[in-house]
Symmetry: C2
C-alpha cells in the first residue's frame, strides 16, 4: 500500500491535479410514428446532462435525477455508454479536467409526467446519412463519397491514402461492400476527422460541407455512440420492447426496429424469428387501425428476461 501513497503524492504537487468535474449525459431514445427520436433540452441541440454531486447515491441515480428535473421524464431502462475525458473538450483554458460519463436510456414519449422545456428530435436530423430505409440517401454517393475521396487523396503518403479510402469504403459501404448500420459512430468519427461536420470546424467561418444539425460540445458524438450501441444491441437482446406500448401488432414492432436500424426487414422472417424465440404472446385483441385485415395484438413476454439471457434475437436484416 505504500506505493499507492507514493503515487498519489507524486501527482498531486498542489493537491489539485487529481480532481475532476464529472458530467453525466443521457441519450434518451423513444420511437413514435416510425421515427427514432432523442430527447433534447432548451433551444440549442443539447442532451440532458448535469454534474455528478455528492448527494447522488450512484452514477445512475444522479443521471435519473438530472433527466427528470430537466425534462420531466422518469427513466426506465438505462445502460452506461462510454466515459470521455478529452482535455480540449471544454477549451484549454480550464484548469480542471472534465469527465463525461454517458448513458443510453430507452423510454416512450407518453411516459412524460410534467411538461418542460425539453423536446424530441429525430435522429436523422443529426445524421441524415444514417437512414437507409428508402435505400441509401442520395447524399451518400453525391456528397459524402466525393468529399471523403478528396480527403483521402489529400494525405501525404500512399499508405495513408490507401488506408483512408479503405476506412471510408468500409464505414459507408462504398464499392460493392454492404452497408453496416452498426457503424454509426465510426462514420461520424470519420466525417469529423475529414473535417466535414460542423463540430470539426468550430472557429472557422466556412459553412460545414455536410448537412445535418450539429449539437453542443461533443453531444453529437455521444448520440452517435448511443445509436451504434442500440443498433447492435437490438440484434441479440430484446430491448426494443422498452420502446413499445403495452400492446402492439407485429408490424408495429417491425417498423420500430426498422426505424432504429435505419433499414428494412424481411417481414416473414422477422415474424418467424419473434415467434421462434417466443418473445411475445397474444393479448386476444386485434387492431383494425392498419387499413387491411385486422392484426393480432401482442404483448412482450417478460418471462424471457428471466429465462437465460443467452437467447438473443438476431435480426433478419434484408439486403435489398
Amino acid at each position: 500500500m505504500d506505493d499507492r501513497a507514493k503515487r498519489i503524492r507524486r501527482n498531486s504537487p498542489g493537491g489539485k491535479a487529481d480532481t475532476a468535474k464529472v458530467d453525466l449525459t443521457a441519450v434518451v431514445v423513444a420511437v413514435s410514428n416510425n421515427e427514432p427520436c432523442v430527447l433534447t433540452i432548451g433551444q440549442t441541440d443539447t442532451l440532458p446532462s448535469g454534474p455528478l454531486a455528492l448527494e447522488h447515491r450512484s452514477l445512475q441515480s444522479g443521471l435519473r435525477t438530472w433527466v427528470e428535473e430537466q425534462t420531466g421524464h422518469p427513466l426506465g431502462y438505462i445502460e452506461q455508454l462510454y466515459t470521455f475525458a478529452d482535455r480540449d473538450r471544454a477549451g484549454a483554458e480550464l484548469e480542471r479536467r472534465v469527465i463525461s460519463i454517458s448513458y443510453l436510456a430507452l423510454t416512450r414519449k407518453e411516459h412524460a409526467t410534467a411538461p418542460s422545456k425539453s423536446s424530441w428530435q429525430s435522429w436523422y436530423d443529426y445524421f441524415p446519412w444514417e437512414d437507409h430505409r428508402a435505400g441509401a440517401p442520395p447524399m451518400v454517393s453525391d456528397l459524402l463519397r466525393p468529399r471523403l475521396i478528396e480527403w483521402a487523396e489529400s494525405a501525404d503518403d500512399d499508405a495513408t491514402r490507401l488506408e483512408r479510402r479503405r476506412r471510408a469504403a468500409i464505414a459507408f459501404g462504398f464499392g460493392d461492400r454492404p452497408w453496416n448500420e452498426d457503424l454509426t459512430l465510426k462514420r461520424y468519427e470519420l466525417l469529423y476527422e475529414a473535417a466535414l461536420v460542423e463540430e470539426a470546424m468550430r472557429g472557422s467561418t466556412l459553412p460545414p460541407p455536410v448537412r445535418g444539425k450539429s449539437m453542443v460540445s461533443d453531444h453529437r458524438r455521444i448520440l452517435a455512440t448511443g445509436i451504434s450501441r442500440l443498433r447492435s444491441k437490438i440484434k441479440y437482446r430484446p430491448v426494443v420492447f422498452e420502446l413499445m406500448p403495452p400492446a402492439f401488432t407485429l408490424l408495429q414492432l417491425q417498423r420500430t426496429v426498422e426505424a432504429l436500424a435505419g433499414r428494412l426487414i424481411h417481414k416473414p422472417n422477422f415474424r418467424r424469428l419473434i415467434e421462434q424465440h417466443q418473445l411475445v404472446e397474444e393479448t386476444g385483441e386485434t387492431s383494425t387501425e392498419t387499413g387491411g385485415r385486422p392484426a393480432k395484438l401482442y404483448r412482450f413476454r417478460h418471462a424471457v428476461l428471466e429465462e437465460g439471457e443467452v437467447a438473443g434475437a438476431k435480426l433478419p436484416l434484408s439486403r435489398a
Copy 2:
C-alpha cells in the same frame, strides 16, 4: 445556457461538491501455458492503477503511463470496460467521491521491458468456479449450489425466493440449464449479494464461505467485468491474436481460446471456422514440439482487421 449555470450553482454550495478523484484501473491479460493470467502489483492482490493527472493527454494515455510505470509492461490493445462510482467504495468518511474508470488490456508476458514488482496470477485463483475445461468444478454443486439455495430460501417473501433461485440457476447453469461462460460478472455479483465472497464480509470475523482469493477494494469485480467482456468478445472479434506469439499452431490457438472461455472447443469445427474466415495464413514452417505429427505454423492475417469488421468469428463451443 442559463439553466446550466443555475444547475451548477445549485449543487456547489461550497464549490467543492462537483469535484471527484478519478482512478484508472487496468485488467491486463496474458495467456501462457494454457492459463489465463492477470497482471497484479505488490504483495497484495491489486490491479495496476493510479489517479488521472492533468499531464495525461487522455484517459488511455494516463492508463498506459501508470501500467508501464508500475509493471514495466507497455500496453498494446486496450478497451474501456466500465466506470464505477460507488460512494461507499472508499469508505463513507471520504469527503470526495472516487470515480473508477477501468480498462481491459491484452498483451503477452514476453512484452515486459523491465523487471518490476508486478506478477502474473491465474484468473482461476480468484474465480475457481469459472474453469469448466475439465467439466464443472466440484465446488459448484458441492458448495455454491447449496449455499445459494440457502440464501434464496432466507428471503422474506415467496416472490423473492423464486427470483433468487431462478437467477442462481441461470447464472450457474443449475438443473438442466447450460453453462454460459459469459456470465462471470453476474455470477460474482450474485455471490457478493449472497455474502459468499470475502469482499462482501469485510469487517466480519467469519471466514468467507467460498474459496478463491479476494482482491483489494473492488478489484475482483473489475476483473470479473474484464473476463465477462473478453469471453463474449472473442466470439465475434479476432482479439485472441493479441495474446498469441507471432507464429503458432492451430492447437495452440485453440488452447488459448479455451483458457479464456474456461471450456473446451470441438477441434474440427474450430479449425473449419478459422479457415473459413481466413483469419490466419501459413508461415511455411512447422512445429514438432507437440509430440505427434508436426503442425503447420500460422500467423494472424492483419488484413482481416481492415476488411470490414463485420465478419466476427463465432466460436463453436462444445457442450460436452
